[in-house]
């Protein structure tokens, strides 16, 4: 999907709604009414705005994100691949379709130090499981795998999450 299509940016009320829900949806029977009271608008408007933001992609979805560590997916590797630029549009979606890949992006190379242009996060319950996942990706890419590396995280140095409030507003 192209990121270049024209996208409606959130207005001030949308942004207030984003800030109000960044910590999550209230766990009460009528959560949209609670948000409406906070913002001084009607619950109908809250629901309409959430629906509109979901339609234009500002909200990917409303839902739950499990803590993958707590669920046993303790081994997470950032796999990086050097694949031909002219084939990446075919190869990227193939990697993304694998059930153990959570994110798959094209990013710039920095030659000669950093030759990798395709990033795929893999998640396993053990190092053996992620090693097997890397093997599976390598097999899938075949000759298009001109080199790869797996970067495991060894330490979280900072984790504050992405918050609109951090962006100076």
């Amino acid at each position: 999907m192209s990121e270049a299509r024209v996208i409606a940016l959130p207005d001030a009320t949308d942004r207030a709604l984003i800030v109000a829900t960044q910590g999550g949806l209230p766990l009460v029977a009528e959560p949209y009414h609670v948000l409406a009271d906070q913002l001084g608008i009607s619950a109908e408007e809250v629901m309409q705005r959430l629906q509109a933001m979901q339609q234009n992609g500002i909200i990917r979805r409303i839902g739950l994100v499990p803590n993958h560590y707590a669920l046993g997916y303790t081994c997470n590797g950032m796999t990086v691949w050097d694949v031909p630029d002219e084939r990446i549009h075919i190869l990227g979606p193939k990697l993304g379709a694998l059930p153990f890949v959570s994110h798959c992006y094209r990013r710039p190379r920095f030659l000669p130090d950093w030759p990798y242009n395709l990033f795929a996060m893999v998640h396993g319950r053990s190092r053996a499981e992620t090693d097997a996942q890397v093997e599976e990706i390598a097999r899938l890419l075949g000759d298009d795998d001109r080199g790869h590396a797996v970067l495991y995280s060894t330490r979280i140095l900072k984790k504050t999450g992405l918050r609109l409030g951090n962006r100076g507003d």
């Binding site: 984003i18 766990l27 949209y32 409303i62 094209r106 990013r107 995280s153 060894t154 140095l157």
Partner: protein, 147 residues
Amino acid sequence: MDAIDRAIINALQDGFPICARPYAAAAEQLGITEDDLLQRLAALREQNTITRFGPLFHAERLGGALSLVAMRIPAQDFDRVAAQVNAHVEVAHNYERTHEFNMWFVLATETEQQLQDTLRAIEAETGYPVYNMPKLEEYYLNLRFAV
């Protein structure tokens, strides 16, 4: 975590209704009561089995600038550089990783200019180059885990 908790986690990763009583609607699909769903979600959040419940935003579409940045820092300077990088509020998260490129952080700013300014400031403060690796194309993003 019992079978009902697992069913809740699996079902609500895919979406949540937008209506006056959304928990009642979701609970009905799961064959439990609204109260039960609310209590279980609160418990799952309390136990840190779920990290988030609510709208998941497409960060790039909020109008700001966002990038993944890598640095190559020798062991003896690593902690100093980590502290200097983390001191910037624009740095959302930062991980040490097993590679010559051993520091990886996400920068989020209001504008592309602020992002570039932050990168230049980090280079000036730390004395090491930054490798700015913004997303050029997204092929897939899925935070779904079957349990």
